[in-house]
């Protein structure tokens, strides 16, 4: 696909892997290059990805065949209204260094999406203006969508709001 070829040609080693599944484009990007790739995707006229549709993460800790690899994958879903095409970008990070550069400067919506990923997976976003929990309360201990969070763990009830 032209989009993936163009990305590989322009960014070289920063593009770790690409996949084209029946027109469903995916590129795995090295962490250091991700902000550059995202900015290029947004600003290049031929790509014009104005919308960050979604930003989420996946925990591969217990995924068959990937137990030894990097534990988390942060996933960006981009969409272009002008050109009506989509692109998925992935960044792999290890558990002991789970942090990714923040995309808030590129798309303001990334603010809450990154806070949700921090809340649920404990992946930090460097340069985020206000990285607090989004959905859970401040006193919550742990990150519940990690695969090693016990499904039966109950946290103590928090007191009345003051």
């Amino acid at each position: 696909m032209p989009i993936l070829d163009e990305l590989r040609r322009r960014f070289g080693d920063a593009i770790v892997e690409t996949d084209d599944h029946r027109g469903d484009l995916t590129a795995v990007v090295a962490r250091d290059g991700v902000l550059g790739v995202l900015a290029h995707c947004r600003d290049e006229a031929a790509l014009a990805f104005e919308v960050l549709m979604d930003l989420t993460a996946v925990d591969y800790q217990k995924f068959p065949g990937r137990e030894d690899g990097p534990r988390f994958e942060v996933v960006y879903h981009l969409y272009s209204i002008a050109r009506n095409h989509r692109l998925r970008l992935k960044v792999r990070v290890d558990e002991d260094d789970a942090s990714v550069p923040s995309a808030v400067a590129l798309w303001p919506i990334a603010d809450w999406l990154e806070r949700e990923v921090w809340d649920m997976f404990g992946v930090r976003f460097e340069g985020h203006p206000d990285l607090r929990r989004l959905l859970l309360y401040e006193e919550f201990v742990g990150h519940p969508l990690r695969k090693d969070y016990p499904i039966n763990r109950r946290q103590p009830l928090i007191g009345p709001a003051t």
Binding site: L135, L136, F140, Y149, I151, N152, R154, Q155, L157, I158
Partner: protein, 152 residues
């Protein structure tokens, strides 16, 4: 039982009878059970027949707290505060399995039954409960109100 006891028990009955037909509910609606609550409240099932036709959206003017829908841990302090703001006498109805036990939301985010936070008088199970179950629960609440011994 002396003459005084006779009068207070008759007074209890009279107060209970009056109270059970003037239920002002506070619908604390957070989730899909709210649809079934609306169906019950509207003309087809018509809870006005039981004197419960007027929901009050201020806890200070309500007697019965209808907790309708899933309560998350983040919502729990709000529910507790609403309950504390209601004046005596007050009753609580747990509407739907999520409020009764947490339902199928056996997870990190959901309160496993609102009776871990506030006392509950009537549990109406169902996901969501049919209006008939709601009316049954309401009538059980009325029985409870009638039988209640007043503190003078």
């Amino acid at each position: 039982m002396g003459v005084g006891g006779f009068f207070t028990s008759k007074l209890d009955e009279a107060i209970g009878w009056a109270r059970k037909y003037s239920i002002f509910q506070y619908p604390f609606v957070t989730a899909c059970c709210g649809m079934e609550y609306m169906a019950t409240a509207c003309s087809h099932y018509d809870i006005d027949r039981f004197g419960a036709g007027l929901p009050r959206f201020s806890p200070r003017q309500a007697d019965v707290l209808f907790v309708v829908g899933t309560i998350s841990h983040k919502m729990a302090p709000v529910l507790k505060r609403i309950y504390d703001q209601m004046t005596e006498p007050k009753w609580v109805v747990a509407f739907g399995v999520c409020t009764c036990t947490g339902g199928f939301y056996a997870n990190y985010a959901t309160v496993q039954g609102i009776d871990t936070i506030i006392p509950v008088d009537v549990y109406i199970p169902g996901c969501p409960p049919r209006p008939e179950s709601v009316i049954d629960g309401l009538m059980k609440l009325q029985d409870k109100i009638t039988a209640q011994v007043q503190r003078y």
